[in-house]
Each structure stands twice: as C-alpha cells, then as structure tokens.
C-alpha cells in the first residue's frame, strides 16, 4: 500500500512574545511556543488515521498545517508525492490542494450565517468556476438531508444537521483526503454517533482518506485504522487501532485509557489523570511526560526517549519493551 499522506519531521513554532515596544522597554527576550515538534507519520490511501491528545497537544496545529492553513516552521507535508511547502508548480500545487478538505469542530461557526446552504455547499466548486447545477441538492441527499434544505439559512438547522452540511461542503470538490478536526466534539452524544456513521459510510463508499483529530477515545475506537497519540507536540505512541487498544505501551496512553469513560464501567473506580499538560513555552527537560508519569525515574528527567519502532508499533518511552 502506498502512503497517500507523508508527514516528515513537522514542527511549528509560534511567536508569543509581547509587543515589540514592551519587549524593548521591559528587556524581555522573545518567547516562543513550540506547538508541534518533529512529528512524522504516514497515512495510506483509504485509511483513517486518528490523532489523539489533550487540548494543547498540537493536534489541531498539525491538521491546519496539513491542509495549508498554517505554514510549517520545519519539516514537510507531502500529499500524493507533492510537497506542499516546496512545490513550485502552481498548477500542481492547486490540484493537490483541491484534493484536501476539512471539517471543523464548531458547526455553528463554520457556516457563514448570511449564506444560503446551497451557496455554502457549492462554494468549493464555484470558486474554481466549476458546474454547480444540482450539486448542493445531490450532496444534501447524500448526507441525509432534504434537497429542499438548499434554500435555507444555517440558523434553521440543528448542530448535527449543520455538521452534515459541513460534510456536504467538504465533499463538493470531490476531495480524496478530509481532515476532520474534532468533528463531533460540539455535538450531543446521540447525534455524534449519527454523524460518525455517516462519515464512516462516506469514507467506504467514496474511498476517502481521513485524518481524524480528536480527544475522544470512544470516537477513535469507532473509526480509526491507525492511531497516533500526541503529547506536548510530540508523537509518543503510534500503532494500529486494535493493537493500541489491546496493549498500550506508553504510560500516557495508558493513563488516557484509564480515564476514559466506558459503557461497561458503571461502578468502576476511575483513575483520574494525574496533573495537567505542562506549559509548552517551558516544556520539562527530558521526557516531557515525566512530571505526570507513574514510572518516571531519574533517567527520564535527563534524556528524552526517541520514538522507536517495535513491529508496527512506535513508542517514545524508555521503558517500552519490544
């Protein structure tokens, strides 16, 4: 299987310094926030890759870099063999961009409230001067809404219906990769399942590749083929979904699993996650997870573990066994 998406040593640093004048007056150095550092992974075609992590772990930043909303500070995003930040042929670049779409977290903010649903769905095609006759109606039907909804405005729909409209818009330009940034986090649990099933069905029917960004392990278990766990901008564990759920190797993944609510877990003693994600401006030395890790030793405070390969599993922990 060839890898459709290749992410190589991707890093993103944000400048979070105070304004220039304050810096000069207060003699402060520039402050930088490393949101993503040295992340590499691949997504084969027609697979669902899930990025999991707490808020602030950099998962949305990776998604934005993948679709081109943010330029990477270092590293590269390669889609179908085209390096998005280095490709110089504008035709090839825009053709590659057209293959990528995104579904956002907040279905209330991601639809322009002044636009009709038809115009919203047609926009990706209309922007390229394509033929949009009947397109919105067909797509609305495909995502389980009525073609008559095309003349309505977004405020006439519920959260779940809006997310369906977002899916329809994402499908309009016939993309091959869809980046889903927490697509169900803003929805009710009952609606989440419907939207997820819709997205899974579409993925199979249309042969799409998904990058699924979420903090919800239940969602991940439902849809993902392969999972990457992020902690403080770094990939700490990566494995096929089943392998990861059966035997998580990194103590952070273990902690996430222990904290997640489970259907069979009534009356179960839930281990709450210890501590909070550290300040990404001053990350801890050594392994970034060591202040919260139950297994941490002196070694972990000094030396950062590399992401090592154990079969199809990749783990960044000194104590991971093959």
């Amino acid at each position: 299987m060839t890898s459709f998406v290749r992410i190589r040593h991707l890093s993103r640093v944000f400048d979070v310094s105070k304004p220039w004048l304050n810096r000069v007056l207060e003699r402060l150095p520039k402050t930088q926030l490393t949101a993503v550092s040295d992340v590499s992974f691949e997504i084969p075609e027609r697979q669902v890759y899930a990025l999991v992590g707490e808020s602030g772990s950099g998962k949305s930043t990776i998604g934005k870099m993948l679709v081109g909303l943010l330029p990477p500070s270092e590293g590269a995003v390669e889609i179908d063999g085209v390096d998005l930040s280095r490709e110089s042929d504008p035709g090839k670049l825009s053709a590659t961009r057209d293959k990528i779409q995104m579904i956002f977290q907040d279905p209330y903010a991601s639809l322009n409230p002044r636009w009709r649903v038809r115009d919203i769905i047609n926009e990706p095609v209309a922007a390229k001067g394509g033929d949009t006759r009947g397109l919105a109606e067909r797509l609305l039907e495909q995502v389980g809404l009525s073609p008559a909804d095309a003349v309505k405005y977004p405020h006439e729909f519920s959260g779940g219906q809006r997310q369906r409209i977002c899916v329809a818009r994402a499908l309009a330009s016939q993309p091959r990769l869809i980046v889903c940034d927490e697509p169900t986090s803003a929805l009710d649990v009952s609606v989440q399942a419907q939207v997820l099933n819709l997205m899974s069905d579409l993925q199979e029917d249309l042969g799409l590749t998904y990058l699924f960004i979420t903090h919800d392990l239940a969602v991940v278990q439902h849809v993902a083929d392969r999972i990457g766990v992020l902690y403080l901008g770094r990939l700490v564990e990566e494995a096929d979904a089943e392998a990861l759920f059966d035997a998580p190797r990194h103590p952070y993944t273990q902690m996430l699993f222990d904290a997640a609510p489970r259907m069979d877990g009534f009356g179960r003693e839930v281990t709450p996650p210890k501590g909070e994600i550290p300040d990404p401006i001053n990350p801890p030395a050594g392994c970034a997870f060591h202040p919260r890790c139950p297994m941490a030793e002196e070694w972990c405070k000094r030396e950062r573990p590399d992401l090592r390969k154990y079969g199809s599993h990749r783990v960044a922990c000194h104590f991971a066994q093959a």
Binding site: L69, S94, D106, A109, N112, P113, R114, P124, K152
Partner: protein, 315 residues
C-alpha cells in the same frame, strides 16, 4: 439577530417579513421610533418633492417681489396682500419654500457624506482587521490621530484646502461636493473602528478558514464572507452619523463656509435668519432652525432605537 437584507426571496414580501420579525415588533412597540420615522419620512418627502410642493420658487429672481419682504407668517402682506404660511425673508422669499429647498441640500449633503464615510470606513476597517500587521497599524494610527481633532475642525481644514485648490469661478458650483468630501472624510474613523473590531472577531471563525482552504482570495473573503456579517453595527452608526453629518453641514454653512447663498441649506438659512432675530423678524430664523432640530432629533432617535433593537443584550 434579525436579518432584513438577506432573507429568502421566495417567501412573503420584504416589508411583510420585516413587520412580522422581532425588529418589526420592536418598532411597533416603540412610539418614539414610529414618530421619528414619520417625521423623517415627511421631511424627506418634502425635500424630494420640493419643486412640486413648494408654492414659490425661492431661487427665481424674476418671481420675487421685494415688496413682499418681511411678511410675518399667516398675515397678509401690507402692500400686496399675499399670505405666506411661514412668512418671508428680507427679499420677499417664501420661508416655507426655502426650507423645503434647504432640506433638499441638507439631506443630500448628509446622505452623501455618510455614504462616503461608510465606504471609506468599511474598506479601511476591513483591510485593517483582515490583513493586520503594518496595514492595521498605519490605518488605525491615522484614525487615532484624526480622532484627536474635533470632526468639525477636520472638515473645515479639508474645506479650506479644497477651496484653495479649486479656481474661483467653480467655487460655488463645487461647494456642495466639497462639503460632502469634507464631512465624509472627517467621519470615516467610527466606521473603520467598528468594522475592524467586528472583522477581527469574524476572521477567526471557521467559515473564513473554510473559505481560505477552498482557495478564495483575500478580497473575495473580505467582501463575500466577512462584510455581510459586520454590517449590522454599521447600520446603527450610519444612522447616528447621518444626524451628525446634517448638523456638521449646518454648522459649516452657519459659519459661512458651507453651502453658498445661491444654494442655501438649512444652516445657511439659519445664518441669514439670525441677523434679523433682534429686529423682530423671528420667523426667518425660527422655522429653519425648528426644521433642522426636528430632522436631527428624529434621525438620532431612530438610530438609538436601531441600536437597541439590534443589541440582543438589551432585549
């Protein structure tokens, strides 16, 4: 939020839908708004149809009879026996007719100046908010500097410069346009500030990210996505600015640097009238001044109502 402009066309008429909407309800239950709109409508209609309504043409020297000068309101003239509703001025011009024609100038200048300020302010505000960085810095510092001067001073400055540039023989013809330019340029800052603020909020919303992702250009995103979403506060400011622009025009004309005597606005009429106040001909001043007051007050009250009606927090 109520949407007046963009509602579906396929449904009942725009007026009907406005009447049924929250805005319509708020309007019907605000006597101040109803009366204000009525006053503005009457004055505006009077101004628009002045040539047909006005009983005399005050600017046709041939029709003027100097013997009619200083006729008090509703009293027959001592020499000609003619009756003028609101009296006449020193040259025998019918005050009612001059007010109608003056309103025309005042409203035209006010509207045009607000439109100019609005176009300028919205454009600069959108650019500052969307592009950020040094574009934002330059535009907003310029706005700050302009805000430190009273608007009327800025308008006088622009008026003075324009007068120096335009040759003497064109000055009277151009006076109205210079007035519009002066008031418009002195009033864009408010629009720019509000639009910039709203743009900063809107540009971080995901629908803008979605448009960027699709490959829409910056101008297309600003005009088609952000602009429709920042217009409601602009509508409020535009209404209140209209009252201010009318007053600014009257002030400039009152000071003698605005509308020329050949095209008198309400402000010019007040300037002419105040010369006769102490000699007993009060009507020459009082009626134009009353009209200006009614106009400015009604527009202002309408603006206040609109602001409250569009602000969900006050409901």
């Amino acid at each position: 939020m109520v949407d007046q402009q963009n509602s579906p066309v396929a449904r009942p008429g725009a007026l009907r839908r406005f009447w049924d909407s929250d805005m319509g309800w708020s309007f019907r239950h605000s006597p101040v708004a109803v009366i204000s709109l009525l006053v503005v409508a009457i004055l505006a209609l009077g101004a628009i149809f002045a040539p047909w309504i006005a009983p005399y043409d005050p600017f046709d020297p041939a029709s003027l009879n100097l013997m009619n000068g200083f006729t008090p309101p509703m009293q027959p003239n001592a020499f000609t026996g003619e009756i003028f509703w609101l009296g006449t001025d020193d040259q025998g011009r019918d005050v009612f007719s001059t007010i109608l024609f003056g309103l025309r100038i005042s409203l035209f200048v006010g509207f045009s100046a607000v439109v100019l300020a609005m176009v300028l302010g919205i454009t600069l505000g959108l650019l500052a908010g969307y592009l950020g960085g040094w574009v934002d810095t330059i535009i907003m510092r310029l706005a700050d500097v302009q805000l430190t001067f009273p608007a009327i001073l800025v308008a006088m400055l622009i008026f003075g410069i324009a007068k120096g540039v335009i040759p003497v023989e064109y000055r009277d013809q151009m006076a109205i346009w210079v007035l519009i330019l002066a008031i418009g340029l002195s009033d864009w800052v408010q629009f720019a500030r509000v639009v910039r603020g709203a743009t900063l909020v809107e540009k971080n919303k995901e629908y803008v990210a979605a448009a960027r992702l699709i490959g829409r250009s910056g101008p297309a995103i600003m005009l088609r996505h952000i602009l429709p979403n920042v217009l409601s506060p602009v509508l409020v400011i535009a209404t209140i600015s209209l009252a201010l622009a009318i007053i600014a025009e009257a002030t400039l004309s009152f000071l003698g640097i605005g509308a020329p005597p050949t095209q008198p606005s309400l402000g010019t009429l007040i300037r002419i009238g105040q010369g006769f106040l102490f000699s007993g001909e009060w009507w020459i001043l009082l009626f134009p001044a009353g009209t200006l007051l009614a106009l400015a007050l009604s527009v202002n009250l309408l603006g206040d109502w609109l602001r409250d009606a569009l602000n969900p927090k006050l409901r």
